[in-house]
Symmetry: none
């Protein structure tokens, strides 16, 4: 089979519901599609359910499925991916937790599970802990600040297990829970012991920390404990070149978002954040487009471009900002399309999950998808609204089905059977 | 996310095929939809395959999927659910069989696997056995009459197994089979022993029973044995409040059908059968609608209304009766819709499986579905026929996907991932 290159452009959070502020139209229904109208008319449209209908995807699980790894079988839980999103580089076997700064009394009774939620000194507290916690029983412990009171905690070393209970009792007015092994093996017992030593050490260090004395002086609850939940043990994902069902050797991703960059790195992408790309609505999308064209011209089989600003506008509940970000994304897509050989490439444009501006969070709504490939059965639409996508000839694809479809149009899927 | 209430109305057996008696239209194509035309025009339509395309659902498996429990992984077989449909309340660990009254010779050779099928005294025979069988090896045995010659037999107690073979040889002219353990463990050996003692005791008791002497006098085959098949061990289903992926605390079901009531009770619904509700075509549907409105006004997150008459008309092969039952159901739905706040509720109307009147049994045809939610992408149809549903923007949802979709519109699904 003739092998084509693949260029995949994701507008994060694309796909929406009717918005009162837009006269019950969706942001996509207000978008000017003219920069890519010709491409759209030569494409097939459809819908994609990143996990399956009715399941709200995270950015991590959606990206695993987008690249052909079924997250319903290959997802170690949020702990490791929270850490990746906060900038950690994890190795298979590392055990990571989601955590909260909390306020506890002298007797370790939880007074506030989120230590007031607003903790401007959270980053400094994390640095202080990372300087002082160090190793426990020869296992390295790393803390990463996520947002507000949220952290991720990584235990690195051999012989660890994620079969341990939370120290977060998910309630206030009770003591921090002791972590217990949930499996009858040495790894679980060792990890529970480490977690309990961690809790003790962190509570002591935070209790002594001058940053907390100042919070108390200002009448704010001290961030004097970390509650852990959702242990997950990092799994090993196959690199593209290790996936027998695919013929993809080299892949490159253009993104400025830590979680997406982390997932791409795990799957074997070379990851690039070009000058001016920010992961926000102020990102220089043409810089990303130019980077993608350059990667396409080098010997990458798959070039992925991730645009985060559409999701940021959605989480902020700003429909007009979302329309503008989509239009800027389409101009970037248009620049890419103008600089590739449409006889030799598969181009897809889609969302990684829906983030309706009225909901301001990820939902399970299927996302609109456009697939261009030489000789594909076209729908002849020059727009890609949710309603156009519903009528599209690709139908409604689930989970890894979209990736397989794209790779097959590119002649890169092995036959299953004789 | 903002949480909405959910009201779910099922017309059992909704969904049909063209009927010669109706000029090759389906019952839904003759229905007057005007009581809910406005609601329909503000809804999305689609199709639902309760299990997956090509699998004929039972009422039990369809209802498990309808409420988000995948029956392909969590179904213990028909034995326990036949017992539930006959009024049993099962506990996890109970082992239940489907059974037939049969006619055997003195030497336990099967002469008629169904004892003539017509057994007006079946209920009395079951009561007689329940008074006299009692316990075997400390395990309580309960027999429930289902329909005609059919019974369900429940063994209650710890240490039982469903890995035992049938005593029903599925043939006549041969002896009742001995039940054998199908696993090499004490539970299977004990259960097979119990089943064989049961067979022996029941055959002796039925042979002595005056009801059978009278059948013989009238020239009817005596119901002098019970053949068992399809052992199933009751599993434990999570209550709504135990399901981490959902935020549903309280659910209520309105139904007059034993099997549906039993499934709902297993899943943690509070189950209500209002005055006048019969589970037949003579049921007082407005009484059900009023009960649903009252439950909606109390603090239930999910209110389920089950209407059986549509299925009864289908099994009887009566298309006009089915049209009338659907119209009565729509008037009940309209009463509910008039008494809820459409800004704060998700409303769905659908079948639990298709029962075409020409087939007079459940088929795997997908069922029409209507979903209303504030701000949903609408289809603008004022009818819900099979053909309208096929064009609907929800597409074709399978198994637990519909429940997830409804719960996500209600803001009650946890995110899978970070």
């Amino acid at each position: 089979m003739r092998r084509l290159k693949v260029v995949l452009v994701v507008a994060d959070g694309l796909g929406d519901r009717p918005v009162p502020e837009l006269g019950m139209r969706t942001p996509l229904e207000l978008v000017d599609f003219s920069p890519v109208a010709d491409l759209l008319s030569r494409s097939a449209l459809g819908l994609w359910d990143p996990i399956r209908p009715g399941v709200r995807p995270g950015s991590d699980t959606a990206h695993l499925a987008l690249f052909g790894i079924d997250p319903t079988n290959n997802y170690p839980g949020r702990g490791p991916f929270e850490a990746i999103g906060a900038g950690a580089v994890l190795n298979p076997g590392d055990v990571a937790f989601r955590g909260n700064f909390a306020t506890v009394s002298d007797g370790a009774v939880i007074l506030d599970r989120r230590a007031g939620r607003r903790i401007p000194e959270a980053k400094e507290l994390v640095e202080y802990l990372n300087r002082n916690v160090g190793e426990i029983e020869g296992v390295r412990v790393e803390i990463y600040h996520a947002t507000e009171h949220r952290v991720a905690v990584v235990f690195r070393g051999p012989g660890l297990s994620d079969a341990v209970s939370d120290t977060d009792p998910h309630a206030e007015g009770v003591r921090i829970s002791e972590s217990r092994p949930l499996a009858d093996d040495e790894a679980a017992r060792k990890t529970a012991r480490l977690v309990n030593s961690f809790t003790e050490r962190v509570t002591r260090l935070l209790g002594e920390c001058p940053l907390n004395s100042r919070r108390v002086e200002r009448g704010e609850p001290p961030a004097n404990a970390i509650l852990l939940r959702g242990a997950g043990k990092m799994v090993k994902y196959p690199r593209f070149s290790e996936r027998g069902e695919l013929s993809v050797e080299r892949a490159a991703a253009v993104s400025a978002t830590a979680l997406v960059k982390g997932v791409c790195a795990l799957l074997g992408f070379e990851v690039l954040t070009p000058e001016g790309a920010t992961g926000g609505v102020d990102s220089d999308l043409m810089s990303k487009a130019r980077a993608a064209v350059e990667l396409y011209r080098r010997d990458y089989d798959l070039v992925y471009v991730h645009i985060k600003g559409t999701d940021a506008a959605s989480h902020d509940g700003k429909p007009h900002a979302k329309v503008e970000m989509i239009e800027r994304t389409l101009r970037a897509l248009s620049h890419i399309v103008d600089n590739v050989d449409l006889g030799e490439v598969v181009v897809a444009f889609l969302g990684d999950h829906a983030t309706p501006v009225t909901v301001r969070d990820h939902t399970s709504d299927p996302v609109p998808v456009m697939v261009y490939a030489p000789g594909i059965l076209t729908d002849g639409s020059s727009r890609l609204t949710e309603r156009d996508a519903r009528k599209g000839s690709l139908g409604r694809l689930r989970n890894v089905e979209l990736f397989g479809t794209l790779m097959d149009y590119a002649g890169r899927v092995e036959k299953f059977g004789a």
